[in-house]
């Protein structure tokens, strides 16, 4: 168990910089998820913490110790890979015990540690099997067992669930969350799946093009996205983003001419352009709403329904309703906006904070 801190961490391949100076504080016992689109540098960042990639500039500190020049095996970390990376010629027990064998842990002690880890993960009956005899979920569990058997200071996960099918992914997600509760160890987890990020993290770091867009708790990230990128990336279905122009200080005019009343005055001048972001669940069907449009598609998800609507100028928006409202394709509807799910962004994509917002 240990805190991890990154200070102005930079990665460059020759003159080509892929990570542009990242600062990140990870508290002891935190579950931090690095999330971002593919190619954003999140895996590179994780591999730099693991010691599999060199650090061009800046410092990585684990448990108060600068790790830049420390080889992976002395960083006291364990890593779980997307494709499991099990040793195919070793049994489950040998896979889990490989690091102990290399560390010359006495056989009896190692066997005890393997047994304890196996029982945490429900692998006790599989200890003598080979990886090829296991299912995908079991293999990933062995990969986790190999990590926890060493009782490391930090767990690193590199997209561990991406190779599993949907049902298994959900089950393993729960298991990882439970594992974190049981062990209380610092975990750093990389994924491109924002649902995994939202459900697992105590803190999410949104990475984009080698920089941190925002670091916050899942709820805060959802309720107060600091910029358009985070607003679009977090939340499913995506936040509706509509271009608008400020009229006075408390009205926004959309491209189709409709007017949205703002509860708080925006800190921009009259006539300034801005983006209005509306969460799908903050769009409500209402006979006297300020927005109008035509239903183009409805998707019934059971408890929820997604209604795709084209506004009068054709701009598509998505509305998420509870239950199954009776609208059909082609219906003309009016929409109002729940102010709690309304976000304003300035022309640079930065959040325009309401005055009472902290």
């Amino acid at each position: 168990m240990a805190p991890v801190s990154l200070r102005s961490v930079t990665k460059a391949y020759g003159a080509f910089e892929v990570i542009h100076g990242i600062d990140l504080e990870i508290e002891d016992g935190a579950f931090v998820v690095l999330v971002g689109p593919s190619g954003c540098g999140k895996s590179t960042l994780l591999r730099m913490i693991a010691g599999l990639e060199t650090i061009s500039h800046g410092e990585v500190e684990i448990d108060g110790e600068v790790m830049n020049d420390v080889p992976p095996k002395h960083r006291d970390i364990a890593m779980v890979f997307q494709n499991y990376a099990l040793y195919p010629h070793m049994t489950v027990a040998q896979n889990m015990g490989f690091s102990l064998r290399l560390a010359k842990v006495p056989a009896a002690e190692a066997a005890e540690k393997i047994r304890a880890s196996a029982s945490i993960l429900g692998l006790t009956d599989l200890l003598d099997r080979y990886p090829r005899q296991l299912s995908g979920g079991q293999r990933q569990r062995v990969a986790m067992g190999r990590a926890i058997v060493r009782n490391p200071k930090v767990f690193l996960f590199d997209e561990p669930l991406s190779n599993l099918d949907a049902a298994l992914r959900m089950q393993m997600r729960v298991e990882i969350a439970e594992l974190h509760q049981k062990l209380g160890t610092t975990m750093i987890y990389v994924t491109h799946d924002q649902v995994e990020a939202m459900t697992l993290a105590t803190k999410i770091a949104v990475v984009n093009k080698g920089t941190l867009e925002q670091v916050a708790t899942p709820v805060r990230l959802y309720e107060r996205p600091q910029n358009l990128f985070v607003a679009r990336f977090i939340g499913s279905p995506q936040m509706n983003i509509l271009p608008a122009r400020l009229a006075g200080v408390s009205e926004a005019h959309l491209a189709d001419g409709s007017v949205i009343a703002l509860r708080q005055p925006a800190a921009l001048g009259d006539g300034a352009s801005l983006s209005v972001g509306i969460r799908p669940e903050a769009l409500l069907l209402s006979t006297d709403g300020p927005l109008g449009g035509r239903v183009t598609l409805t998707e019934h998800l059971g408890g929820l329904t997604l209604i795709h609507i084209a506004l009068t100028d054709g701009t598509p928006v998505v509305l998420q309703a509870v239950g199954a409202p009776t609208v059909a394709m082609g219906d003309v509807v009016r929409l109002r906006i729940d102010p709690a799910g309304l976000h304003l962004f300035d022309p640079d994509g930065r959040r325009i904070a309401a005055p009472n917002e902290s």
Binding site: G51, K73, N83, L86
Partner: protein, 281 residues
């Protein structure tokens, strides 16, 4: 109509069996004839019509080669030379292939091409210079010179095949082992080697067979029964006036057997799918 595709299927299958049988006959027949020859009396061997069956059989030829021609001494020489060649080929080749495949080596394809070009020298062209080098180094008529030469002939193939094998092993396996605390040597021995065992077995066998059967260099660099290898020993059987076909056949049978046994023994290692289950494909 229904029976027409069945008939076609049957014909295809029969054709396949006939083709397989022809290939088997083609490859095994010379060896079987050799075996048969080794058991035939000289009288039969020199008769105008060849005999396919060794009847009446005799063990004279085997008695000749072992008792009168000390054939076992050549076998010992060959076993030592081929064994050492295989051992060094696999250790040096394995290490080299690992370095080329996994470490940050610049121009590794250039190096691989260079290694391959070594095996393209016409061997007859390098016998004379090597002879001079060996004699000035005092290595004539030693196991050392043969092992050195066979090593340089065998290494290109070993390195190329193992390089290919190592390339197919996912990097994440290396990284997992590195995080588990393995250094490069431990990674090679405990993880990469067991995962590429089929490659090691195959190339090891090829290197062994190459060294076991090589004639020209062995003839040039050795000069007595204490160092000469099997092919040279067999060539010694023939003299100016007489070709002892029966003894030659007996010797060939004796030296082919170890190779057949080796391949059979290692057959179970030459299996596919050893990496199955390591990673998600």
């Amino acid at each position: 109509m229904l029976s027409s595709w069945r008939a076609q299927l049957l014909i295809t299958r029969i054709a396949l069996y006939i083709a397989s049988a022809l290939i088997v006959v083609w490859s095994v027949a010379p060896f079987l004839w050799q075996v048969s020859t080794s058991f035939q009396e000289d009288r039969l061997l020199s008769s105008p019509t060849p005999n396919f069956l060794p009847w009446p059989g005799t063990l004279d030829h085997f008695y000749n080669i072992f008792v009168e021609k000390q054939f076992h001494l050549y076998i010992v020489n060959s076993a030592i030379v081929a064994g050492l060649t295989t051992l060094f080929c696999l250790t040096i080749g394995g290490g080299a292939a690992f370095a080329l495949a996994r470490l940050r080596v610049y121009y590794h394809f250039g190096i691989l091409a260079l290694i391959l070009s070594v095996s393209m020298f016409p061997q007859i062209a390098i016998v004379a210079p090597l002879y001079l080098a060996a004699s000035s180094l005092g290595l004539m008529n030693t196991y050392t010179i043969l092992v050195i030469i066979y090593l340089s002939l065998g290494l290109p193939l070993v390195i190329w095949v193992l390089f290919g094998y190592f390339q197919t092993i996912p990097r994440e396996i290396d990284e997992a082992a590195i995080i588990d605390g393995a250094g490069p040597l431990r990674l090679l021995v405990s993880v990469i080697l067991p995962m590429s065992l089929p490659g090691f077995v195959t190339t090891g066998l090829l290197a062994f067979i190459m060294a076991w059967n090589e004639f020209m260099f062995a003839l040039a660099f050795t000069s007595g029964v204490e160092r000469q290898t099997i092919p040279v020993g067999i060539a010694n059987f023939t003299n100016l006036y007489y070709v002892p076909w029966g003894d030659l056949a007996a010797a060939s049978v004796v030296v082919t057997l170890p190779l057949v046994l080796l391949v059979l023994a290692f057959q179970r290692w030459i299996i596919q799918g050893l990496t199955q289950g390591a990673v998600k494909e």
